[in-house]
Subunit: 150 residues, 4 copies
């Protein structure tokens, strides 16, 4: 699945703070990950409110981010979020930071998240209701989201 | 002028990020100042867009903040901003962080800002158009805002 | 007690991160408070390791900071910390951020901290052993530290 | 080249701030990137002080980070940095965050950096003196560092 195939359902406008901006006038790269977190929480809450996130947590195992253009404080930044893969104990998000005004893609990031039994402190299978909720939200079948190979 | 006398004209809803929250589940105190900055910029832009902020900058000389109650990530936080004093080369802001849902005041902060000639790198008189714009926005006379003694 | 009367016993060199620096090339003001926290923790650990900080916590009630000169990323910043007042349920810290190379004072901050019963969730008296440890560390009598009026 | 083949020459102890720690008591993932920046700057300064970094800048094009274990505020965190690949206009860093006390690897990150003509605002060839300085520092030949295929 390439990024151009994505039909994004979840978009979150985000606030850029003056303290996020570095001496070049660019939003510091580390800030993207705080903003991706914000969008990720919003996504999970919207898609899978039913999942018992007290018993099952999610932890980030890997991020892979391309920085394509700098973000300025005057940008109207939005974070797009989609689940692009469902595995056994993990799932993969694609997130993109886009300036609404110019339409420019500033950064894209693939994040692997692992379901985690917070009591036993070890990875667990993704709950079926969560998988179903993601499929329904993304408008994909389970086969499609499990088959993704990138 | 006591805080209860304030009729707040400028309110900015702000986003709390997961990375803002500390091990106690409270928004870290240092984050307030980034949020106050955000609200301050919004205030200055709205009130005094005409002022040539390239020639005249403002720097923070003093902050005095009371932390009254912790902010949680689920709070709907808003920052209220008002100018409560106009001096010769400085002015004073009162800012408050309030949870919209509960109405609880979480933090209040008085900030002294100094007008600054960015080329000459020294403090300068507040421009008259700025003072007039603030008075018009706050619904106060120049005498009222200059006379404030706290 | 004026700042010049202070004989500082506790000094902590701190690291400035690139993400701490704003578009003017200055360390963002909000960062001072994270650095003051770091120095404060170090101070409390060094001075009063015996105090049971699990039962008795400390929360910040007020900060009052003067920003005197900008911090640059090349500065060798140190935070000086001293207790300048012991009250019944609160104590006051003076902290200063100084560039070791130039000796310039960049920022000074007075912080009021309140002892807090973490179980009962309400302010409590400062433990006597804590007061004694502070007096011993600062080289002052209890009368001197309790009498401070600013 | 696998990570176990690396002989790390550059190690930087880093300070963890209370504001870096999230509600789980873990250092927030976004903080790693600020710490990697700090170590990266230190590395570049140490290795290639001769390079004219005013004319030629470096920008981060991609980060790929594995989060292996949480960092606690009591950890004695160190960042290890090595250049593992030299390309035409880019080079690749491997960085690792390790707790000195336990020896545990907490996070590893591969970062692709692109040399950038700050005036012309476009990518440029890596300067030869920079390449030579890196080879000398890492104890590798140019062939070894250019041949790396991961």
């Amino acid at each position: 699945m390439t990024i151009s195939d994505l039909t994004i359902k979840h978009t979150l406008p985000v606030q850029i703070r003056f303290s996020d901006v570095d001496p070049f006038g660019h939003m510091n790269n580390s800030v993207y990950f705080s903003l991706y977190d914000l969008a990720k929480s919003s996504y999970l809450k919207e898609v899978s409110g039913e999942t018992d996130w007290d018993k099952i947590g999610v932890v980030v195992a890997n991020v892979n981010a391309d920085f394509l253009a700098p973000v300025f404080i005057s940008d109207q930044l939005e974070i797009e979020t989609a689940v692009i893969h469902l595995g056994h104990k993990s799932f993969t998000l694609m997130q993109r930071a886009i300036d609404r005004k110019s339409g420019l893609l500033k950064c894209q990031c693939r994040t692997v998240m692992v379901a985690y039994d917070t009591a036993a402190k070890k990875p667990v299978e993704l709950p079926d209701p969560f998988k179903q909720a993601v499929c329904a939200y993304e408008g994909k079948t389970l086969e499609e989201l499990e088959a993704t190979h990138d």
